[in-house]
């Protein structure tokens, strides 16, 4: 199936090409509805007739069958990219079909219910002009908290939970464990007497309050609910804590070795056995055995992968469930709260007061990925059309109607869950209430029962007609770019990628090349051949034509292909070494000005000329380093000047131009300055360093293809509202902000994530719920204006323990990662590392101090929910961005990449996944290969092994020096390690081994939505060192080993305790 999407394939229908009329709301939400051709088999539940109706229509028909799932699900749903070797790479493997996950066949469509006021993010209902967007975007400052939060009802164990425990617990030897924070929030837990069940769940709920089984020294020892603190400060007596069987273990605990205590960690590389390792797990009660033991390095907290698919109900009864880990495979059932893919909070219970939050030392932040790709088995987001009146909104805070708005007074009024205002129900939207106090139609109306819906935007949400999908390509043709093959690679990639663009009149393309001048091309069909228009004034650029630079793809495909083919040869003898990046994007921007759109720039050298030219600061940095040391080095990570920033703001603010930059270079390009443009315009940077025409062409193509074909929206405005009591403190991500409350996103796609941090300005009542609502107003690729509204309502708590239990490790990590990325251009590296470590220590200290008071001071006690925090912190401190030895551009790229990184990709980015592949064939068929991950320690590397390590971006193959030549032959096509190429292309050979490996790699690609840069690393040469630098658990010149780090953290906590 997948292969049918390869470029140059047979002509195929472009589903969703003609948007359904607004009056005919589509059950297929974006991303589905915005998926271009590659996503065609969204024709859920239909035989894959090539001429089938667009997904919207199919959805409608599906709705007729009610909740059932008619028809067989399609074989594959490429909601994830399918990666292909471009045909140009003749030796590349054929396109790889990824057996994608499935979409649910059910696409329930509610009747469009006209009525209800509400607000979009751009245009104010009632004030149709763009003149006053600022006004309506100011949130009301008063929130009425009278809205009662879902009462702490009778906890009910959802059956699904029983069978699919959250995987964090798999650390403890695969014992079934309990879900975190599943208990009743009303139960005071933290600091409570030991007799209290830990999770607050009644014991009758086995999996809610189940004590965690801890395997310790090969022995399962459920921890007791209570424990006595070991005597502290008596090294000889320093006791190994022995966890006892007990209930409700929530944390892991590691005790520092006595001999280490108070002394600097000894510089051993092998983690020395710690004498009293304790895996503690209780914040409340803790008992320790005095059994001396040594800690097994394999037992300290490490991420585990549970390969089973979890079904996750966002709410159950009236309770909120903590989401499964971001990296795990799960299917979301939207039962009121939105999918955690769309919004994920650092804690799944909200502290009632700011004091409680600051005590916890944890940040309160929301990671929003508004267009995240759903699991294909999930119900698609439903589209609601309220007709001309537009979505129903709170008349005070302009919050959108959502399941948590409470209808009162027989349904005549509804109370906003965000600001507490009591609104009158619009007449057309009126419905009386049932005996349960809910509207009788609540279950039929998606906006009243789903966490995420998409509203059809009315004219009031548009300052102009929705813009067409415009893709403008800008290719560096300066001398170096030509010589390294970067131009040819870019042209090839574009040529193939445009084949996947929808043919419609709304899809426009344009192209320009540049060196020390900018060359536009008139692609009008009437011309015999493209016309090249050179703009030579790069100090003060302009667009050379008013029309015809950007033309419907259908009209220029032939010209464009012909042109792309000839560009590399046309400039073959180019002697111009200069590259006018700034001027070129400015000129392209001017060409895009009337419409807006996406600008995809292929840049290969340092922009050395024209507007926004840059200098080789890296060299300057090196020379100054000699004299002034590292002190000022971080300043080189700031943009050189404001030129590009100013330009980017202009792009974003007024003309909706989103810039993506593909950097295919072999030298310094001043990433710090260049990346400002994509950062500000909602784009992203792709970095191919050192560029290899052989290895990187395929990735370049696949990156570009995914870039233009992934679910995405244009001219978007996003705003997050929250309940009264807290307020948005800051947004962070790739966007432009004009006014404090909104962010402008000229482009938004499924991969981009935005972090929103909050602060308290009031207190919540215990038992109430705090709601978050993210509204994204955007234009689909088919030119429909939509408002995607995601709601998340979380219970509030006064209990610190509950807070810790509900902490979301993945979100916290993402949050820290972004903080680190933000900090590196402004502070010296050592300071940033210290900062990150302090964050970790403070959290653990808070937990230790307030929630684990009873445990012995000598114990390192880790809250179960965040037990991996030390490991991740350590990995983070050793990451490319925070390492001292990194190149300037690489560090800058790292920071830039992180800025929009989603939660699910942040985890591997910090702590990559490593698997062994030399034994692939010997693994059992039904044992998912990707779940048997290896800790990132060189102790796990054998000389006769081959290992794959991937972080979502790079994929390194490590080949030991004693690998069986047969395996080498099967995988790499060479007979000896010495024969391995330096520039690597993964190929599929005619053998099972190679096939499995390719399947594995493809699975990773699918998961990461990234083609991955393949590199071969050989033991003993620089590439091997690169690989080893990822072994974050090892002791390295720049950092401690994992074991040492735990000791270090522990000591820090103890110092604080004193």
């Amino acid at each position: 199936m997948a292969s049918s999407f390869s470029p140059g394939g047979p002509s195929r229908p472009r589903p969703g090409y003609y948007p359904p009329s607004i009056a005919n709301p589509s059950p297929n939400p974006s991303p589905a509805s915005s998926l271009p051709g590659t996503m065609q088999n969204l024709q859920i539940g239909r035989p894959s007739a090539p001429s089938g109706p667009p997904p919207f229509l199919s959805g409608i028909s599906a709705s007729a069958s009610g909740g059932s799932r008619p028809g067989p699900p399609p074989q594959s749903l490429p909601t994830r990219p399918q990666f292909q070797q471009p045909p140009a790479m003749s030796n590349g493997p054929p396109s790889i079909g990824v057996s994608g996950p499935r979409f649910p066949t059910q696409a329930t469509l509610r009747e469009p219910t006209p009525t209800i006021p509400t607000q979009g993010s751009r245009a104010v209902p009632g004030s149709s002009s763009a003149g006053s967007p600022a006004n309506d975007l100011v949130p009301p400052s008063i929130y009425n908290s009278s809205f009662s939060a879902p009462a702490a009802g009778v906890p009910m164990a959802p059956p699904s939970l029983v069978s699919s425990p959250p995987q964090l617990h798999s650390l403890m030897g695969g014992q079934p464990s309990h879900p975190l924070a599943g208990g009743s929030p009303s139960q005071p837990l933290a600091g409570g007497p030991p007799s209290q069940p830990l999770m607050g769940g009644p014991p009758s709920l086995p999996y809610m309050g189940q004590p965690q089984m801890v395997q310790y020294s090969g022995m399962r020892q459920p921890l007791p609910p209570s424990g006595a603190a070991p005597p502290f400060g008596s090294p000889p007596v320093w006791q190994q804590q022995q966890p006892r069987p007990g209930v409700a273990p929530v944390s892991s605990m590691v005790q520092a070795p006595p001999q280490m205590f108070g002394a600097p960690p000894s510089p051993f590389t092998q983690p020395r056995p710690l004498t009293p390792p304790v895996m503690g797990n209780s914040p409340l009660a803790w008992s320790h055995s005095s059994t001396p033991s040594t800690i097994d390095p394999n037992q300290i907290p490490r991420p585990m992968v549970d390969s089973s698919v979890i079904v996750f109900n966002t709410r159950q009864g009236n309770q909120v469930n903590s989401p499964p880990p971001a990296t795990s495979d799960f299917i979301v059932k939207d039962t009121g709260n939105c999918s955690p893919r769309l919004m994920r909070c650092t804690m799944n219970q909200i502290p009632c007061s700011g004091d409680l939050l600051s005590t916890s030392s944890m940040p309160l932040a929301l990671l929003v990925q508004p267009m995240a790709i759903p699991n294909p088995d999930e119900e698609p987001i439903q589209v609601v059309d309220f007709g001309e009146i537009g979505p129903i909104r709170c008349s005070r805070c302009k919050g959108y109607i959502n399941p948590f708005m409470k209808f009162v007074d027989q349904g005549k009024r509804f109370i906003c869950n965000l600001c507490g205002y009591s609104n009158e129900t619009p007449r057309d939207y009126y419905m009386n209430l049932g005996p349960d106090g809910r509207r009788r139609d609540a279950e039929e109306r998606p906006e009243l029962c789903r966490g995420t819906v998409e509203f059809v935007a009315t004219k009031e949400y548009m300052v102009r007609d929705p813009m067409p999908a415009v893709f403008f390509f800008l290719v560096d043709v300066s001398m170096n770019s030509i010589r390294t093959g970067a131009t040819a690679a870019a042209c090839g990639a574009i040529s193939q990628a445009i084949a996947d663009l929808p043919e419609g009149p709304r899809t426009l393309v344009g192209i320009a090349t540049f060196d020390s001048a900018i060359h536009f091309y008139n692609l009008k069909r009437a011309l015999q051949q493209p016309l090249m228009l050179v703009v030579p004034d790069i100090q003060d650029v302009y667009t050379p034509l008013h029309t015809d630079l950007i033309v419907p793809v259908a009209e220029c495909r032939q010209h464009l292909e012909q042109l792309l083919e000839s560009i590399p040869s046309m400039f073959e003898t180019n002697k111009v070494a200069d590259s006018a990046f700034g001027a070129a994007i400015k000129a392209a921007f001017l060409a895009l000005k009337p419409t807006g759109g996406k600008l995809l720039v292929f840049q290969s050298v340092l922009p050395s000329i024209g507007t926004g030219s840059l200098s080789s600061r890296e060299a300057e940095g090196r020379t100054t380093n000699v004299s002034s040391g590292e002190k000022e080095a971080h300043k080189l990570l700031q943009p050189a000047d404001m030129t590009l920033k100013t330009m980017a703001i202009e792009f974003a603010e007024h003309q909706q131009v989103c810039v993506d930059v593909f950097i295919t270079t072999q030298a310094f390009v001043d990433m710090a300055s260049i990346s400002v443009v994509p950062r500000t315009t909602g784009g992203q940077v792709y970095y191919y360093y050192p560029f290899s025409a052989l290895s990187d062409t395929a990735k370049l193509y696949n990156d570009l293809r995914w870039n233009i074909s992934r679910p995405q929206g244009f001219e978007a405005v996003m705003r997050v509202r929250c309940s009264q009591g807290i307020q948005v403190q800051e947004y962070s991500g790739n966007f432009c902000k004009r006014i404090p409350t909104d962010i402008d996103l000229p482009g938004i796609d499924c991969d981009k994530s935005i972090m929103v941090s909050f602060k308290h300005d009031d207190k919540f009542q215990e038992g109430s719920e705090c709601a978050f609502q993210c509204a994204l107003l955007y234009t689909t690729i088919y030119g429909q204006r939509r408002i995607r509204v995601s709601n998340l309502s979380l219970p509030c708590t006064t209990m610190l323990g509950t807070l810790f239990r509900s902490a979301d490790l993945d979100s916290l990590l993402t949050c820290f990662l972004r903080q680190a990325a933000t900090a590196i251009p402004t502070s010296p590296l050592s300071q940033v590392r210290e900062q990150i470590m302090n964050l970790c220590v403070n959290i653990l200290h808070s937990y230790r101090k307030f929630c684990a008071t009873v445990s012995t001071p000598g114990q390192l006690i880790l809250p179960e929910s965040v037990k991996l925090l030390p490991l991740y912190t350590l990995a983070l401190s050793k990451s490319t961005g925070l390492r001292n030895d990194g190149r300037l551009d690489e560090r800058s790229y790292w920071a830039n990449h992180v800025a929009s990184l989603s939660v699910s990709l942040a985890v591997p980015w910090v702590y990559p996944r490593m698997i062994s592949i030399h034994d692939l064939t010997s693994k059992e068929n039904n044992d998912p290969i990707l779940s048997s991950i290896l800790p990132l320690s060189s102790a796990n590397l054998n000389d006769d092994g081959i290992y794959l390590l991937e972080n979502g971006e790079d994929c390194l193959f490590y080949v030991g020096n004693m690998v069986n030549s047969e395996i080498l032959q099967q995988i790499f096509g060479v007979t000896s390690v010495d024969g391995l190429p330096t520039q690597f292309v993964l190929q599929q050979y005619e053998n099972t081994f190679s096939k499995i490996l390719n399947d594995v790699v493809n699975e990773i690609r699918r998961q990461r939505c990234s083609f991955l840069r393949m590199r071969l690393c050989r033991k003993g040469d620089p590439s091997g060192m690169l690989f080893l630098s990822n072994m974050v658990e090892d002791k390295s010149p720049g950092g401690l080993s994992y074991m040492e780090f735990l000791v270090h953290v522990h000591r820090q906590i103890q110092t604080k305790m004193e």
């Binding site: 043709v477 060196d515 020390s516 001048a517 060359h519 536009f520 009437a526 011309l527 015999q528 051949q529 493209p530 016309l531 090249m532 228009l533 050179v534 703009v535 030579p536 004034d537 003060d540 302009y542 050379p544 034509l545 008013h546 029309t547 015809d548 042109l563 000839s566 040869s569 046309m570 400039f571 073959e572 003898t573 180019n574 002697k575 111009v576 200069d578």
Partner: protein, 789 residues
Amino acid sequence: MEDIGGGAAASAPASVAPDPDGLDGVRMTWNSWPRSKVEASKCVIPVAASISPIRSYPDLVVLPYSPLRCKPPCAAVLNPFCRVDFPSKIWICPFCFSRNHFPQHYSAISETNVPGELYPQCSTVEYGPAPFVSGGDQSSAPPPPPPIFLFILDTCIIEEELGFVKSAMRRAIGLLPENALVGLITYGTQVHLHELGFSDLSKLYVFRGTKEITKEQILDQLGLSVAGRAGAPGFPKGGMPQANGLNPSASVNRFLLPASDCEYTLNALLDELPSDKWPVEVGNRPRRCTGVALSVAAGLLGACLPGTGARIIALVGGPCTEGPGMIVSKDLSEPVRSHKDLDKDAAPHYHKAVKFYDSLAKQLVNQGHVLDLFASALDQVGVAEMKVAVERTGGLVVLAESFGHPVFKDSFKRTFESGEQSLGLSFNGTLEINCSKDIKLQGIIGPCTSLEKKGALSSDAVIGQGNTTAWKICGLDRSTCLTVFFDISPSERSNQSGIPNPQLYIQFLTNYQNPEGQMRLRVTTITRKWVEGSANTAELVDGFDQETAAVVLARFISLKMEMEEEFDAIRWLDRSLIRLCSRFGDYRKDDPASFSINPNFSIFPQFIFNLRRSQFVQVFNNSPDETAYFRILLNRESITNSVVMIQPSLISYSFNAPPSPALLDVASIAADRILLLDAYFSVVIFHGTTIAQWRNMGYQNQPEHQAFAQLLQAPHDDAQMIIRDRFPVPRLVVCDQHGSQARFLLAKLNPSATYNSAHELAPGSDVIFTDDVSFQVFCEHLQKLAVQS
């Protein structure tokens, strides 16, 4: 040359009958010169010479060697007026009286064996092909660089006009010499410079229309700057820059290709060339950046080797509304400036634009390149502002109302024709003038630029391009004519010398590159007689050339009107005429009836009468563009042609008599006559009412009325003869009496019969609705005032 001077010719002095310009192509207001400054000023009409530096003449002697020159600083060329001492092989320069030895290769000289330049009839000779390489090895001289034709095409015009201009372009390209280098710039809101040498696809450089751009910037941006970058992208450098005569370090030959190589490219390009696509808002003019387009063209040509002959041929279809050189704003509610606006200083863009075109002219003159302007639009396009650039560079100018109109079409074609019909377009001219002592050069009116080579001969009183003894004429052709103004200022020493030479000598040295690319030096040496004292009026009278005087006066007054604010031209003319008549007429004081004047002056008042009524003085009847156009042509045309501009000729055709010149008077109109008016810019065929009725009834088609058919045809044939020889091609107007087009004739006629005198009308005659005085009244007043004491 066909002399259809008509009435004027009839009374013209017999001495200049067949070829008034003679071999030398020099005509003077006074052929006998007053000796003193005072006398000269009493002559009223300035002492001036109209010269046609490279007028074609079948008997011209071309000497294939370098000229022999007097020692510096004189540097006069050996000529028939030199005294030659054959035995001692010495020649004496008539200008500085230096004695020069003949060089070795003249050793064979003797009284019976004199070189061509000493033949008395060879007062004008031409030296070629390498005039300045004296003694150098001529064979090593590089071949002449091919001429360059850089077309600038306005695309801010409607499709129909664009179609016309494209076909004109195609025809022109076909007519270009094979080796000529061709470049193309199209422009509208922006300027498109087409890189014709780019083979992969059509490539062009785009310059913004709003921004002033220097030559250096242009060269830099095109990758042509000598010190600059390694060359522009994608084009394999090299080729044969030397052979093309182009600067080898700058591959300007990417843009300029031999006509034979790029004809296909150009035609293909023209086929696809759209009109300007930038949107024009309602109520606005299209944005047209003529100024920047010209800058780019000039800048590009700046990359050529010095000395390369190049023409910028601008085809302009409307006013410049953007950027430097803009003459009117985009807003249609602002009309293009009129003479009234200029008079009241209410033309906001005028001075800025003139300044811009002036600097452009300087740049072009420095480079030695020509700007030709073909303006075709119903409204003005800014000829008035661009005049300076066209005139200083010696460019051609044609003003038409449409690119489809024959005035443009045929003129444009003529520009590129070779052979008999060729204009003889030449390049890189410089004119040097030597003259006898006591004569100083005030300056030149005409298509040239002062080279600011100040010398003993240059006068402090400047007229036109002065302060110099050398002028640059970037573009010149067979008809190019310059008016040199002389100042008579006898020095103390020459008065004391005692033996004053009764003859004065003037030598014109014109160095130019002929259409074949060869460098030529044309030397014209003339002599005239001094008239001593104030008594010898008769000699002065004999030497008066009233045609030349009228034309020189017209040129002079046009200049004054342009240069001097609040200048009252009519008053000035009247006074001059009165003073002239007072000075040279025979009369008794205060007795108008006694007034008479020598035939040499007899027609002069009529010239002045018509000049007063002409487009040169009565500018308010025309737009500033038209005025500028008329004046450029007045300044560069021969005396004979210029006279026609001032006083049109009228020929009458009737059954009763052969075609004969008729009085330029409304009385010449008769119902049974056909009149042919040649007003230089327009040729009018005017049918009397009866003739028109007969024609309308179709008598000419009946065999028995063949005579009528012939009568009808005759003026057309004559008109075609006029049109064929003239550049720019005049507008042909065919009209009938009382028709609307008849105004073209009536405006030129002496209003001897107006509506005031209508009661005396004879049947078939006509009246002119005007309050202007008739020539009779004018003469009466003149006589009265001339005799006043």
